[in-house]
Amino acid sequence: MGGWLAALVLVVPMLSAGATTLAHAAPRLQARLSLAGAFALLAVSVALLAVVLSDGMVVLQSGNWAAPFGIAFAVDTLGAVMTVIAAVTGVACLAFGLGEIGETERRAWFHPLSHVLLLGVCGAFLTGDLFNLYVWFEVMLIASFGLMTVGGTKAQIDGAVKYVALNLVATLMFLLAVALIYGLTGTLNFADIARSVPAVANTGVLTAAATLLLAAFGMKAAVFPLFFWLPAAYHTPLVSVSAVFAGLLTKVGVYALIRAFTLLFTHDPDWTHTLLLWIAGLTMVTGVLGAAAQSEMRRILSWHIISQIGYMVMGLALATPLGIVGSVFYLVHHIIVKANLFLIAGVAARLTGSMELKRIGGLYRSAPWLGVLFFIPAFSLAGFPPLSGFWAKLVLVRAALEIGSWWIAAAALVTGLLTIYSMTKIWGEAFWKPHPAGEAAARPLAEAPPAMLAPIAALAAGTVVIGLFAQPFYVVAERAARELLDPAAYIATVLGEVR
C-alpha cells in the first residue's frame, strides 16, 4: 500500500501538531510527543522512499477520485528523497530546540508550529497538483510566520515584517500563475498540465505564466534579484527555527522550480532556461559577495544560502541529465550541511555569548571538538574533497563544461573559492583568536546541553558518510534525474487509470 504510506507522511505531522497542541499544558509530555512525532515522520518517509526505490512511483488518488479530477499525490524518487531529508532536518532541529527553547518560546506554540511547518514541506514534496502545491506553500508559510516570531524580540518582529511582506507578494504571483495556467489548459493536475502544454496555441501567455511561476518560486528560493528578504530575516529567529528555515524552506522553492521546469514548462527553453542560467550565475556571485561583507555568524551563513541556491538552479538551467543529477545531489547535501552550520553557530554563540564575530573568540582553546564539528560542514560547503559538497560541485561543474558553458563553470568555481574565505573568517574569528573579554569568557563544550550536540554530531556524520560513500547517493540522484527528464512516464503513471 504505497498510497497509504504517502498519506501517512501527511497524517503523522498533522497528528503531531494536534497532539502537541492538546499537550500544551504539560511541557514534558509535549516535548516527548513532539520528538516522537518527528521520529515517526522519519520512519514513515524512509519506508516511502524504500517503496519508491523498489516499486517505482507511488500515486495516491485521494478520496478515490481519479487523477485529473481529484487531488492526486504523485511521489517519484525526488519527492521521496526530499521528504526523508525534511524529516531528518525536522528531527535534528526539534531535538536542538528541546535544549534551546525556554518557557516563553514553548508557550508561543513552538512545537505545534514546527509540525505544521513539516506538514507543509512534506505536502509540497508529495503533491501532484498545482493548486494543492499552493495550499501546502501557504500551510508552510503560516507556520513559518508563527515560528519566526516565537521569541517576540524586536529584531524578530523587524525581520518578520520583511519576510511576511515579500512572501505575501510571492503568494499572489503564484496564484495569478495558477489562474493563467488553469485558463489555458483547463486543468491543475501536474501530469494533465504537462500533457496539455504542447497543444496550447497561445504560447505567449503560457510563457508569461511560466515566468510568473519562476518569479514566485524564485522569491521563495531567494534567487537573484528576489533574495533581499532572506538576509533581513534569517538571523533573527531561534537557532533551531532558523536552521529549519535555512535547511528546508528555500529548498522547497528550488524543488518547485525543478518540478515546474522539467515537467511543466519545457516548451520554450530558450527563454526560461536561459533566464534560469543567468539567475543562477548572478545568485551565486551576489550571495557569496554579500557574505564576505558580513561579520555576524548567522548573517554570513544566510548569504551563503543564497549563493548555494545558485548552484542548484544552475543544474536545473543546464537541463542536461548530469546537470539535474548535480542539482538533486546538491539539494540533499546542502540541506544537511546548512542546517548543521546554523546549529553550530547557535552552540558557538551560547558558549561565547554572541553571534557577532568581533565580540567572540577563543573557542579553539575552550571547545576544540566544536572546531572539528564545524570543520566538517564548513569544508563540505566550500567543496573540499572528500566531503559531500565536493561531489555535488564536481558533478555540476562537469555538467557545465560538457555543454561548453564556460562562464557558469567559472562562476561556480570562484564562488567556491570565496566560500572558503567566509568559512575561514568564522574559523579565525570565533575559534582561533582569543576571546576579547578574556580566556574565561569562552566556555567548554561540556556546558552546551547534549540535546544540542547530538543533532550536530549526527548531521556531521551524515555529511561524512555522503562524502565517503557517495556512490549509492549518486545512483539515487541519477535515478531521480532520469525520472525528471522523462515526463511521459510521469504522465502515464498518474493518469494511467483514465486513459
Binding site: L60, P112, T149
Partner: protein
C-alpha cells in the same frame, strides 16, 4: 463598548447564530453550507459576545483555550480520513453509515460530515485565537490553519 442595546441584542442574537451555524454545518454536505461557513458564523457569534461583553466573554464561551479547540478540530479532520484504510480504499475516501431509526427514518452519518465537524472546530479555534491576539495586549500567537 457597553451599549445596552448591543448587550441585550447579543443575548438573543448569539444563541441563534450558533444554532444557525450548526444548521449550516449539518446541511453542508449536499447543499450550500459546510464546516467552514458554519465555523465562521459561530465565530461571528462568539466575536459579537466579545464586542458586547469584552474579550473575557470569548474565553468564557469557549471554556478551553482557542488553540485547543483548533487542535481538536485538526485531529477530528485527520481521523475522518482514516476509516477508508479499513475498507481498503485510498486516503480520504468518503464512507457512509446509514443508521435506521425505524419508521423509515434514516440517519446518514459519513466521514465527510466528520471532516466538516473538524473544519468547523478548527475555524472557530483559529479565528478566535486571532481575535484574542488582536484584542488583548499584543503578544504574537500564530497557530491558525486554513480551512
Amino acid at each position: 463598548m457597553s451599549s445596552l442595546i448591543l448587550r441585550a441584542g447579543t443575548r438573543i442574537l448569539a444563541p441563534m447564530m450558533l444554532l444557525l451555524s450548526v444548521f449550516l454545518l449539518w446541511r453542508g454536505h449536499n447543499l450550500p453550507g459546510g464546516g467552514f461557513i458554519g465555523g465562521l458564523v459561530a465565530t461571528s457569534a462568539i466575536a459579537l459576545q466579545g464586542i458586547a461583553f469584552g474579550p473575557e466573554a470569548i474565553r468564557r464561551t469557549l471554556v478551553v483555550p482557542p488553540a485547543v479547540v483548533a487542535g481538536v478540530g485538526v485531529l477530528i479532520a485527520v481521523v475522518a480520513a482514516l476509516p477508508a484504510a479499513l475498507a481498503g480504499l485510498p486516503f480520504f475516501t468518503g464512507l457512509w453509515l446509514k443508521l435506521d431509526l425505524g419508521d423509515g427514518a434514516v440517519l446518514p452519518l459519513s466521514t465527510p460530515l466528520l471532516f466538516d465537524i473538524g473544519v468547523y472546530l478548527t475555524v472557530i479555534g483559529g479565528v478566535c485565537a486571532l481575535i484574542a491576539a488582536l484584542e488583548e495586549e499584543p503578544s504574537l500567537e500564530g497557530g491558525e490553519e486554513g480551512g
